[in-house]
């Protein structure tokens, strides 16, 4: 993994401006951020070793304005589809939690734009309101990070974090389970890798089961030693698996390398 130079630019869409961080070269991958907002992570670096990585900011996050009339996850998916069409055409999607929810909507509504999907503990499909983000800070940190030393340092101000939470609510509308999205899952054509942390208490294992059982071409994998923030808790495990999947598609089922001494 090498340190890539990421640059920021603004993309103007009919609904408004989307800011994007981009780095790396290769087949395009769009990384969709969590409800925390866009963050640079070891996974993003690893992806950029092999791909042109784009990290669009969902409108309303990190100081960017909301787009007029855009609320709900389906509408946000339309905005991001327009972004993808304008910047890179067909791409692979990697979505983290809230970003995984968004990636599913993009794949469901705009299948022509999506190659493969990698979902990291996607939100929006918590049946019976199981799991969820604890309100208290310490409990929330424990639920997010099984490896606290790897947690990213939060550089956003309290006000900015509050604004990001408000933007999140604009899209999620407080839903634990998105029935409309669930109805679309069997129609998703993109081959999908679903990643779940073995210690995740925010997104229940049932979400992984639902996705695996509903998306026709899908693979569910547990990341041992990870809580909810998979790409920070176990970046090497997540990165190696995601890259192998993105590079080899269904062939990723077959182990390529051995530890044999040649």
């Amino acid at each position: 993994m090498s340190a890539h130079s990421f640059s920021e630019s603004d993309v103007t869409l009919p609904t408004g401006v989307v800011r994007v961080r981009s780095g790396g070269e290769g087949r395009p991958v769009v990384h969709l951020h969590s409800a925390a907002g866009p963050r640079h992570s070891p996974l993003v670096e690893m992806l950029a070793d092999h791909h042109a990585v784009h990290q669009p900011y969902a409108p309303g996050f990190d100081g960017m304005p909301l787009h007029k009339g855009v609320s709900g996850m389906e509408a946000l998916a339309d905005v991001m589809a327009a972004f993808i069409r304008q910047t890179c055409g067909k791409c692979d999607l990697v979505g983290e939690s809230f970003g995984g929810w968004l990636a599913l909507w993009i794949a469901a509504k705009h299948p022509d734009l999506v190659g493969q999907l990698v979902l990291e503990a996607p939100a929006g499909l918590r049946a019976d309101n199981k799991g969820g983000l604890p309100a208290e800070f310490e409990a929330r940190q424990r639920a997010l990070y099984a490896q606290p030393a790897r947690a990213p340092v939060e550089k956003r101000s309290d006000a900015q974090q509050m604004a990001n939470r408000k933007a999140t609510l604009t899209y999620t509308q407080g839903l634990a389970f998105d029935d409309a999205l669930a109805a679309h899952l069997p129609g998703i054509k993109a081959r999908t890798l679903i990643l779940m942390g073995t210690q995740d208490t925010i997104i229940p294992a049932e979400t992984g089961h639902l996705l695996k059982g509903s998306i026709p071409q899908s693979h569910l994998t547990y990341i041992h030693g990870a809580a909810h923030a998979l790409e920070f808790d176990q970046p090497k495990r997540v990165g190696a698996l995601a890259l192998d999947f993105l590079d080899r598609g269904e062939s990723f089922l077959v182990r390529e390398k051995t530890s044999a001494i040649s």
Binding site: G208, K212, G213, L220, T221, H224, L241
Partner: protein, 374 residues
């Protein structure tokens, strides 16, 4: 109380003491081996008729100490020879094995036996790591990851993959799945507080053996109970299993004479070859996470070996005597440790199989009626 009948399946014909590990196998006689397997499996199946709740086996490698390098094979044989007795595999040496294979074999055993499996997972004794070429320093981390993986393999409703430190699988979906839901009763072994804390985190019984001091054992069991409580589970007597070398005869004197002869062969011949390998593993690796635990393990073996039979009985590691004496010893263990399950090993070294059978019958007729309702 519950009682298991455990068999180590020792090789009984060593004339010379192997001085090095692994013990040379040139003297192994397959015909004699076949006869021993027949006798041992018959004896284990007979436990069902002697009122035992479970028949138990475990796993050892490269040593005449035990001819059972895969107890699941013995469990499979017993599943066809018995009807209702539980099959306690105590257990598979998890850090040495492919966890998916273990999940599959245990699931087979559970289904074949109609849901009678007690699935034991143990870290094993140090020298076994040389046999399967697994770094001893990784034993605890491998144990945890393998156990987590097996629980997923048993309970997941959808095919899944696994990305861990030691195990990586892209697609798992075992057939069959276990009969017991959500999964078979589990047992994990513990000899110290760190292990007991680990066991308490799972929905599992704790298994202890080679007790050198009842108070120390009681403290370790309390660590297990306290941890389980912290994880939302109350444990009872049935969750604590104690391994006991046992001899029951008509009189105290007869039982002690039989036991002394068996222990002599056990310690001087069967235990000898692994001593060097064990020493190397303990000295040169981090099998134990700190020096205190390493010293405790070594002390436990030394003390056990150096004690007289009477001292071992007093310490709570051996049950030996007439049926009346054995009843008192079992009641003492129950009182001091709150243990509700005793795992009885009667085939110590060269103790004659006829004496083992007689001991099993004395247990059924004159011990069990006085302790079953404890």
């Amino acid at each position: 109380m519950k009682f298991s009948f455990f068999h180590l399946m020792p090789w009984t014909d060593l004339d010379e003491t192997p001085s090095q590990w692994p013990a040379p196998n040139a003297s192994f006689d397959a015909a004699r081996g076949k006869a021993l397997y027949d006798t041992y499996i018959d004896t284990m199946a007979y436990a069902e008729q002697c009122g035992f709740d479970a028949v138990a086996a475990n796993e050892h490698h490269f040593s005449p100490y035990s001819m059972m390098n895969n107890c699941n094979l013995i469990g499979a044989a017993l599943s066809q020879r018995t009807k209702s007795i539980k099959l306690a595999m105590l257990g598979n040496l998890l850090p040495l094995l492919n966890p998916i294979r273990v999940a599959e074999e245990y699931a087979m055993l559970d289904v074949m036996s109609g849901g009678r499996l007690i699935a034991g997972f143990v870290r094993g004794i140090p020298h076994e790591y040389i046999a399967y070429n697994v770094p001893p320093s990784e034993s605890r981390a491998r144990m945890k990851e393998a156990l987590d993986l097996i629980l997923k393999a048993w309970t997941e409703p959808e095919p899944f993959g696994w990305e861990g430190e030691f195990y990586q699988h892209r697609g798992i979906s075992i057939w069959p799945k276990p009969m017991q839901k959500p999964h078979p009763r589990m047992l994990l072994s513990a000899s110290n507080d760190e292990s007991a804390e680990f066991v308490g985190q799972y929905d599992a019984m704790i298994g202890m053996t080679l007790i050198i001091d009842l108070d120390i054992a009681a403290k370790t069991i309390e660590v297990y109970r306290k941890t389980a409580r912290a994880f939302g589970r109350e444990t009872g007597p049935e969750d604590v299993l104690l391994g006991q070398q046992t001899c029951i005869a008509e009189t105290d004197q007869e039982a002690r004479e039989i036991m002394r002869a068996g222990l002599e062969y056990f310690h001087s011949k069967l235990m000898r070859p692994q001593q060097d390998a064990q020493r190397i593993v303990l000295q040169k690796t981090r099998f134990f996470s700190d020096e205190e635990q390493r010293e405790f393990f070594v002390k436990r073996l030394v003390v056990h070996k150096s004690r007289t039979l009477e001292e071992q009985i007093d310490a709570g590691s051996v049950i030996c005597g007439s049926p009346e004496t054995v009843v008192k010893q079992i009641k003492r263990l129950r009182k001091h440790l709150g243990a509700g399950h005793i795992n009885i090993n009667m085939k110590i070294g060269t103790i004659p199989d006829s004496a083992v059978l007689r001991g099993m019958e004395l247990f059924r007729d004159r011990v069990l009626p006085h302790v079953a309702d404890l």
